[in-house]
């Protein structure tokens, strides 16, 4: 059992989300505790991605997006009128389903966030790039090819590069939105190992529709079904002794 940290870094209360007239999240309330892995599981179209995109305001890009309820990040309302969206997204990083390296060198990809903050000192940048690539377990594989294009990397390595790039921005929360969806069986355990190592320093939110993966990587899990947070609690309890029949059906494979 991992050491518990009871400080909520994210507090979500009565969150409802609509895309146009379609309500995709219904009255969600939960806390995300710091330095833990919180997994959200559920079948496709249950609202997992919508939920995590609300947390770093990526949903703002959708014209139809509308929400009610509160999302507090360290006590500050993420959707307060005067909040700086760039500051929010900087502190709440995200890894997407598909690896999305930029059309820059491996080094420039990782240094992107630091350069955006105005850092120009090459020694400091070198340190950040090396440290981030080490945390993403990629340094040994790319240390001789830092100036190469990410195209030389495999799919899994590109996803690791995206993790390194997000870490270089020094976020407090890192969201993994089905990061293993396009990885093969040999690459998935590597990413899971990275997640396990990172949870001592970062708060991680992990979205997946693979039940076993959620059971392996997370400390806390939430089951979303049709936009509703059916159950939220310790991963062990969710998978071994769920309170709701739908959760039981999902974790045993009868649903979804």
């Amino acid at each position: 059992m991992p050491q518990q940290n009871n400080i909520p870094i994210l507090h979500i209360s009565e969150l409802n989300v609509w895309y146009g007239k379609n309500q995709v999240l219904k009255n969600l309330t939960f806390d995300v505790l710091s330095k833990q892995v919180t997994a959200f599981i559920g079948p496709s179209n249950s609202g997992k991605t919508t939920l995590v995109r609300c947390l770093n305001r990526l949903n703002d890009l959708s014209v139809d997006f509308r929400h009610t309820g509160k999302i507090l990040f360290k006590g500050r309302d993420l959707y307060a009128p005067k909040i700086n969206t760039s500051e929010v997204t900087k502190q709440i990083g995200m890894i997407f389903q598909k690896p999305i390296p930029f059309s820059k060198s491996i080094y420039d990809n990782v240094a992107y966030g630091a350069r955006m903050d105005g850092m120009k000192d090459t020694i400091q940048l070198d340190d950040i790039v090396e440290d981030s690539l080490r945390k993403a377990h990629l340094w040994d594989e790319v240390c001789d090819n830092l100036k190469s294009s990410p195209d030389i990397l495999s799919n899994g390595q590109q996803q690791q590069l995206c993790v390194a790039r997000a870490l270089a921005g020094n976020p407090e929360v890192l969201i993994f939105d089905e990061p293993c969806e396009q990885l093969d069986a040999t690459e998935t355990p590597k990413l899971e190992a990275i997640v396990q190592n990172l949870k001592t320093q970062y708060t991680l939110i992990f979205v997946t529709n693979k039940r076993r993966q959620a059971a392996r990587v997370s400390d806390v899990a939430g089951f979303l079904y049709c936009g509703e947070l059916v159950e939220f609690g310790q991963t062990e309890q969710i998978f071994t002794n769920p309170n709701d029949k739908r959760t039981e059906d999902y974790v045993t494979g009868r649903l979804g």
Binding site: K90, G93, M116
Partner: protein, 242 residues
């Protein structure tokens, strides 16, 4: 076609008709006279004046291209695609862009040479505006729309703001295709300029009772330049990254 689309198209067509009407009135009534075709001996001077104007149009053309790019980026990056302003502007641009450049050229020749026999930077700017701006805006819009949304999201997720995303991702990914649009527009302008000079030359020849008219060398140069720009735009199109 639903009712709102029909309404927007009607509005766009009305605006197009108004612009053409204003252009007609302007070309017919302006009192600014320069390089007017009069009698023998003025032929060469008049053509020189036209060439002078055409060279003078180069910086104006550059400004119009920059204006087009700014409008395209504003429409795609700032204005909501569902807003009525976007819908109307998009339809107006689509209508102006789909009109063949020859039509603009013939309008230009008719109003400036045949009807008013007057030449000014303003009339030429209006002509070049319609030749360059709609095509450049439309090409730029399409290519901006083609930028992978996931790249934008990845940059936003790292804390990039809109300007940063445009600078680091949209512009580098779109430059080759934007250049294709610009070169195509310049090629249209050069071809029309050549047509304009030829018709001016004929008009001058006719007004001076000269029965033979040699196509000026500059026309050949303009046509060759138009061809060159078309070729360059094709090359860019083949080399563009996506």
């Amino acid at each position: 076609m639903n009712r709102s689309n029909l309404l927007y198209n009607v509005i766009a067509i009305v605006i197009l008709a108004l612009v053409l009407f204003m252009f007609w009135n302007f070309a017919a009534s302006t009192s600014y006279v320069e390089g007017k075709i009069t009698s023998g001996g003025v032929v060469i001077d008049t053509l020189s004046t036209i060439y002078g104007y055409l060279y003078g149009m180069i910086p104006i053309c550059c400004v119009l291209i920059l204006f087009s790019l700014a409008v395209a980026f504003y429409l795609e990056e700032w204005l909501s695609h569902r807003s009525w302003q976007y819908r109307i502007i998009e339809r107006i641009i689509a209508i102006f862009a789909c009109i063949p450049s020859l039509v603009y050229g013939l309008f230009c020749v008719y109003f400036i040479v045949v009807k008013s026999q007057q030449l000014s930077y303003l009339t030429l700017t209006i002509a070049v505006f319609f030749l360059v701006v709609p095509v450049t805006i439309q090409t730029t819009q399409k290519v901006i729309q083609g930028v992978d949304i996931s790249v934008r999201e990845a940059a936003y997720a790292l804390g990039a703001n809109r300007m940063r995303v445009i600078r680091d991702h949209v512009i580098p990914n779109t430059i080759p295709t934007i250049l294709v649009g610009i070169f195509t527009a310049i090629s249209r302008v050069l071809a029309i300029a050549a047509l304009f000079i030829v018709i001016c030359g004929w008009k001058i020849t006719e007004s001076n009772s000269i029965h033979s008219f040699d196509i000026p060398n500059n026309v050949i140069v303009l046509l060759l330049s138009a061809l060159l720009f078309s070729v360059i735009s094709c090359l860019f199109e083949k080399k563009k990254s996506f």
